[in-house]
């Protein structure tokens, strides 16, 4: 499995590997339970990067754009649930942050999104359709927040309604 600096993401047409991860200390999110609507997975290295350019904080402001497509957005990092909870509370994050904490980075690895050297997730994006098939993926340089334009273009390509926000 590629888990070095040269990760190659799972490609469109691939079945999205299923997973169950904690979104809060007592809540589990199972990917296959979300069938029927598009899912956006945003792997990211860590909570608590500077706010005005933080990818999760930015996506939080864009939730209405995503929800216009009926899409579910989920952030995933190797931070623990309590860390996510504090980060989400401090920044009023209104979407689930999943904790790929134990075994560390296991889900990130199945999505070819684990940086073994640093022990954190890549900054990678997946758009999964309502049938659980990957329709778009994008690996960003780890230091560069990819924004949301690629996600919205991918949702447009799914042909689901939305985008008129």
């Amino acid at each position: 499995m590629a888990d070095t600096a040269a990760n190659v993401l799972l490609q469109p047409g691939t079945k999205a590997p299923d997973f169950s991860l904690h979104s809060t200390p007592d809540q589990l999110v199972k990917l296959s339970d979300l069938r029927g609507r598009p899912v956006i997975l945003a792997f990211y290295p860590a909570d608590w990067s500077p706010v005005c350019s933080d990818q999760m904080v930015l996506y939080n402001e864009m939730l209405s754009e995503f929800s216009a497509y009926g899409a579910e957005l989920m952030g995933i990092s190797v931070d623990g649930v309590w860390c996510h909870e504090a980060f989400a509370k401090a920044n009023k994050i209104h979407f689930p942050l999943l904790s790929d904490f134990e075994p560390k980075g296991a889900v990130a690895r199945t999505y070819h999104s684990y940086r073994a050297t640093e022990g954190v997730a890549e900054r990678s994006l997946y758009v999964i359709d309502g049938e659980g098939v990957i329709r778009w993926s994008y690996l960003s340089p780890v230091g560069i927040n990819p924004g949301a334009d690629g996600i919205l273009d991918a949702l447009d390509a799914l042909g689901v309604k939305g985008g008129a926000a």
């Binding site: 990818q55 904080v57 930015l58 939080n60 920044n91 009023k92 560069i144 924004g147 334009d149 926000a165």
Partner: protein, 171 residues
């Protein structure tokens, strides 16, 4: 990552619209990094003169910055009476005082009509701000401030010299 929609006469701009260089900022009046960029932009504008068109579009991070949306609406209210850039400067110079009462005071200091000041609070300026924001999302804005040079997102350092170098390379 390219600018959607492109710069037009409906944008707030300084310098000629047909200048060979275009610098677009997506910014938030409560964002400290945007505040830090403000004097850098002034230096860049001075260096490039009429070769540069500078455009400001709103990208308020309202969850992170509770006063950002209202401040953007006050800038639009000022624009309705031809004072966008004056208000823009006042807001960036008073980033720690952007509560409603302060915004009204800035409007009065700039001589805005009461109707214009009220329009910052009654929702009538929301659409313009939302339009900027949505265009920013579609253009790949990835935080504030986000800069675009001739339509392409600039990911470099945000000091005057680095931005000027990138502009010179684009020109």
């Amino acid at each position: 990552m390219s600018l959607r929609p492109p710069v037009s006469a409906s944008d707030h701009h300084l310098g000629p619209l047909d200048a060979p260089l275009q610098l677009v900022e997506y910014g938030d009046y409560e964002c400290p990094y945007c505040g830090a960029l403000f004097p850098e932009i002034a230096a860049i504008r001075q260096a490039f003169g009429d070769n540069l068109c500078f455009v400001f579009r709103h990208f308020p991070l309202s969850e992170a910055h509770p006063h950002a949306e209202r401040a953007a609406e006050m800038a639009e209210a000022a624009a309705s009476e031809g004072k966008f850039w004056q208000m823009h400067e006042v807001l960036f110079q008073n980033q720690d005082a952007l509560d409603d009462e302060s915004l009204v005071a800035y409007g009065e200091q700039l001589g805005l009509s009461q109707a214009a000041i009220r329009s910052a609070f009654d929702g009538s300026r929301e659409q313009h701000v939302r339009h900027d924001f949505t265009g920013g999302v579609r253009s790949g804005v990835n935080g504030t401030p986000s800069l675009f040079i001739n339509g392409t997102r600039y990911d470099g350092a945000q000091d005057a010299q680095s931005i000027a170098d990138a502009l010179a390379a684009a020109g």
